[in-house]
């Protein structure tokens, strides 16, 4: 039976759905222009995060155990809404500049966020899968949003082909797990886990789950799509899928691996640790060779997936907290960085190369300073957000007896300094000879302000953030 609580717990989902239907209706009726859709989307996302905020201290399952709302999922809903708001803010100047500002963008953006919220609050493998598909589908289309651009078409098609490939494995994994447990409900699987965790069938299912989700988070060796897709997609979309998409996938991974499977110390944890180490090493080392900023951040996002996987591999509550904190840090930082890139990019797709950033600090000191802030945060320099995230996942790894993984992490983040700082060197320590780029428009400035402030707030007051999603602590 459905009760009042069911709907209460799913309020953020409803508000997102209502918003998206409203936008579809107004678009269809041509009431407003794309700007009106943007306004609706931002309002809807604000309401959603407010509702999710009200749910922060609630917990329970709804709709016959299909979704579970708790502090972590509500927190992630807020984070995803934030990513949506920042993306929506940046999208208008970006697409208007390219003459491609259309309301469909916001529809797909919101649909994607619905999928992500489902992933973060899934309590059943079916809901999880539907969430992933909803998110992925919207991202495929968004990656090729400007239809006339071949680069974007290529990006979208590649993402779609490989994504479908990965989804097939994910689904196969779900089927195998259903076969060995007899249920797709995460609570039921959690209860059965101790008894079946060594069964080959179940392990094969787990492996397929890791493969499918590993693709979504772009972990080595399932990362191949990321550089091409990140580079080809419109920059605002890249920023969104690199942050919100990764956050949702990691939330799902953490929920399944830590909460449901309790993998701490098992072979599954070792496999995840292996993928984590490979991602850190490959992502960071290859990023050094990149000269295009979008591509560099793509490899960097592979590396960050490695750090996050270290938290998942720890398999403890600390690892769980570490993953969520890291996601927060990574999301706010990377969103900001992509907002800067999107502003700097020219209509003909130029302006994303590292050389284009030469001497930026002389023309736009504020933007350069903000970008430097993001780069420092990504490098993991205290007291910025990125450092806190790394501290948590590495400490969690150490306490879960994965010291070697923490060592790899520390070593590779030392390597990462090389390419992040190159951006700063370009901006600060070189003479400008390129064209002058005007200050970003107000929405972009707001987006930069929000993310930059959060980079510092999360870095200085991580406990406050932690208490939001871990109320018991």
């Amino acid at each position: 039976m459905l009760t009042y609580t069911d709907f209460l717990l799913a309020m953020p989902l409803f508000s997102l759905t209502v918003t998206v239907l409203l936008i579809i209706a107004t678009e269809a009726a041509r009431v407003g222009r794309a700007r009106f859709s943007q306004f609706l989307a931002i309002t809807g996302l604000l309401v959603t995060s407010l509702l999710a905020g009200l749910n922060l201290r609630e917990s329970g399952v709804a709709f016959q155990g299909m979704i579970a709302t708790d502090a972590a999922s509500s927190y992630l809903t807020i984070l995803l809404s934030l990513a949506g708001i920042v993306t929506a803010l940046v999208a208008r100047p970006y697409f208007e500049h390219r003459d491609a500002h259309r309301g469909e963008f916001y529809i797909l953006l919101l649909f994607a966020i619905i999928g992500m919220v489902l992933m973060a609050s899934a309590n059943d493998l079916i809901t999880l899968f539907l969430g992933i598909e909803l998110m992925s589908f919207c991202l495929y289309v968004l990656a090729g949003f400007e239809r006339t651009k071949d680069k974007q078409n290529e990006s979208a098609l590649k993402y779609f082909l490989l994504g479908a490939f990965a989804s097939a494995f994910l689904l196969y994994g779900i089927a195998l797990i259903y076969g060995s447990v007899g249920s797709t409900n995460l609570d039921a699987i959690a209860r059965a886990y101790a008894g079946i965790s060594n069964q080959p069938l179940f392990l094969l299912g787990t492996a397929m789950l890791i493969v499918g989700l590993g693709f979504k988070v772009a972990a080595v060796p399932f990362h191949m799509w990321a550089p091409d897709v990140y580079e080809g997609a419109p920059t605002v979309v890249t920023g969104f899928m690199a942050t919100a998409g990764k956050s949702a996938a990691f939330a799902a991974l953490a929920i399944v691996m830590i909460r449901t499977f309790d993998i701490g110390g098992s072979t599954t944890a070792d496999v995840l640790a292996l993928l984590a180490a490979a991602s850190m090493v490959l992502g960071n080392v290859v990023a050094i060779a990149q000269t295009n900023l979008k591509r560099m951040l793509a490899y960097s996002s592979v590396a960050h997936a490695g750090y996050l996987l270290a938290g998942v591999a720890a398999g403890t509550a600390e690892g769980f907290a570490g993953v969520f904190l890291y996601l927060t840090a990574y999301t706010v930082t990377t969103l900001g960085a992509f907002a800067v890139i999107g502003w700097h990019e020219r209509t003909n797709d130029e302006g994303t190369s590292l050389d284009d950033y030469v001497g930026l600090s002389q023309h736009q000191p504020v933007i350069a300073a903000v970008m430097a802030l993001y780069m420092f945060s990504l490098t993991g320099i205290p007291p910025f957000a990125g450092f806190i995230g790394k501290y948590y996942v590495f400490m969690a790894a150490v306490r879960a007896d994965l010291t070697w993984l923490a060592i790899v992490g520390v070593l590779t983040s030392a390597v990462s300094a090389f390419y992040y700082l190159r951006v700063i060197v370009m901006m600060y320590f070189r003479e400008r000879d390129g064209e002058h780029i005007p200050l970003p428009r107000i929405p972009v400035m707001i987006a930069l302000g929000i993310t930059a402030a959060l980079v510092i707030v999360v870095g200085v007051l991580p406990s406050t953030v932690l208490q939001l999603f871990m109320p018991a602590m």
Binding site: R102, L108, P200
Partner: protein, 170 residues
């Protein structure tokens, strides 16, 4: 060998064969028709499991609607023989085939070794769950939420398809 087993092996063999044809035929129409055959075999397998509803849906939706659409598209696009694209036997193909075969062996090995652990087929249960009524009830009670989410997925798909396919955007 019981009739059921005979059905299973027969349909399975045809299914695999037609699946292979899908990826090896150079003529896209041939591939599409092989896929239809493959769907029919799958529907037959569902039937042997007493899953009538799925079997019917498989034929109506996949073999009927979707594949017809496929064929329309192929014929409208008038694709030529794709020999040019598939002739070369590159290292990638060999490695890819090798890896896929390795994966197949792995999965087979695991399934074989885990065969004892499989739940046995429960005839009565199978009969009672495969019907349209039971599925309908399930879909609108326990699985109501995923069902509704599917509607969102479809809406998103429509928006995406319109966006990508519309001739002229305003």
């Amino acid at each position: 060998m019981t009739l059921e087993q005979l059905m299973f092996y027969g349909l399975g063999a045809v299914g695999i064969g037609s699946g292979l044809l899908v990826v090896t035929r150079r003529n896209p129409v041939m591939s599409a028709l092989s896929l239809v055959l493959n769907f029919f075999c799958l529907a037959g397998l569902y039937l042997t499991l007493n899953a009538q509803f799925i079997a019917v849906i498989q034929i109506i939706v996949y073999a009927g609607a979707i594949m017809v659409l496929f064929l329309f598209v192929i014929m409208l696009l008038n694709l030529r023989d794709e020999r040019a694209l598939s002739d070369r036997l590159s290292a990638r193909k060999i490695i890819g085939a090798g890896l896929a075969f390795g994966l197949l062996l792995q999965v087979l090995y695991i399934l074989m070794s885990a065969a004892d652990g499989f739940p046995q087929k429960d005839e009565a249960l199978a009969v009672s769950t495969g019907t349209v009524e039971v599925i309908g009830v399930q879909l609108f009670t326990t699985f109501l939420f995923p069902f509704e989410i599917t509607s969102l997925l479809l809406t998103a798909a429509i928006v995406g398809a319109v966006l990508l396919a519309k001739k002229k955007l305003d």
